[in-house]
Amino acid sequence: MQTNSSRRVIGYYGFPLRSALGGVRDRFGRDLPLVDLDVAAGAPDAGLLPPATCRIIANVVDNAVHLGPRLAAVVAAVGEDKCDRGRHAAWILRELGVIVIESRFHEEAFEDRPLLYSTGRGPLAGRVEAIMATVVDPALPGDPPEPCLPTHGFWGVPPNDMRILDLFPPTTHLYGWVRCVEAGRPADLDLECFVDEGVPTVFFHQAFCAKQDLAHRLAEKHGGIAVDCHGEINDSILAKVEAFIRLS
């Protein structure tokens, strides 16, 4: 996030409908940069949410408040493709005077895009970032990663602290909501709960996120481990993931 600039921006969070993002860009200016408010960008705590809340939603609110008048509008994912707290964040931002355009990614809008990054070889963090960039620019890459068989799996959302992804080998496949984003189906629960049988998988969720229900069930079902993290990762989390990858 370009916090030292005075340039106006359009914020968004989750995976809004492409039509919603396009409509806001038409309205406020195609030249305005789009900023993913989910991402930890060093914004100070706005003090608007209790401490025991999802760090991603706290990022959304903190980033929006920090951007202040630079924020032309926010395109907010508030449907099943995000969560109740995403809906609540939209309400809070509107209370603060932010122009909020709500988006609900219904099944009729689902796409069926190829899973190039989810099933390709390469550094995991880079592939997650490439997938999340398709929310704004859905053009298929000219040089997609080479497909590979999975030796390990990472299931979940983009972590608040992406350093955890550095522990995984390049042959790690992506599952969960990240895969849903690449497929263009962010509310597809069946796809979100799919993992390849026999692939040692880390089921990651942010602390205080409802996706922990899925992570724990899936970890039990598939013999993986459920790992949660609130803010920054700590030695315990790193050790668990490192040990699981090494020993499984």
Partner: protein, 213 residues
């Protein structure tokens, strides 16, 4: 070659050429300036070794070296953390590491034992327990029990029982549990745990066995 498991409160050092094991308090290790290990694990090891090994990996590999079962669970109750690994077919099936929570760690019980001058090898298990949701709150309950007439030994045994329940839950309530760490030498802990599952103590050097592999 010197290898070591340097925990927060106790350090275990193995000379692999002679198999000589030295167990010292970590505060003494800190005073040994210049001591270096070839391979080490534990909270206090990172700046004292050439190769640092993840504690969970050391525990897992050490228990695989010591236990012949295909499916088993091992828990290491340390000074200020608890580590757990479950194997299915000798492959890791689940693992967890509870860091810096005094509700199920050795340092808390050591503090209580020292304060009330309790000898753990003579301490009788208690059928009653304190809910040790938090180590500090649990200690406060011990103080309260003692101040209202419960003998200190009984109060500490109740705390230990609460801790055992936490460790048992943390380990997924297995029918049989292999135990690693200093509590292998605490009869009260072993007898109390024995009321919940079959417990087999592996001793204090399981991670060292993992480092040696």
């Amino acid at each position: 070659m010197l290898i070591a498991d340097c925990g927060s409160t106790w350090s275990k050092i193995l000379e692999t050429d002679t198999d000589a094991i030295e167990i010292i308090q970590t505060r003494e290790l800190i005073r040994r300036e210049g001591i270096r290990f070839e391979i080490a694990t534990g909270h206090s090891a990172k700046s004292r070794c050439r190769i640092y090994r993840n504690e969970l990996i050391a525990l897992a590999e050490g228990s695989l070296a010591l236990v012949a079962d295909g499916d088993f669970s091992v828990v290491d109750v340390g000074g200020r953390d608890v580590k757990f690994v479950r194997f299915a077919g000798r492959r890791v099936n689940r693992l967890d590491w509870n860091l810096a929570c005094g509700s199920s760690t050795g340092a808390t019980i050591e503090l209580l034992g020292h304060y009330y001058e309790v000898e753990f090898d003579r301490l009788a298990p208690s059928e009653r327990w304190i809910n040790v949701t938090c180590g500090v709150f649990g200690m406060e309950k011990v103080l309260e029990l003692v101040s209202t007439g419960t003998p200190p030994e009984e109060a500490v045994a109740m705390f230990l029982h609460g801790m055992v329940r936490n460790v048992f839950d943390f380990s997924g309530r297995p029918g049989r549990l292999y135990l690693s760490g200093g509590f292998c030498e605490n009869d009260c802990f072993l007898q109390t745990m024995g009321n919940y599952c079959t417990v087999t103590p592996l001793g204090r050097t399981v991670p060292l066995e993992g480092l040696r592999r």
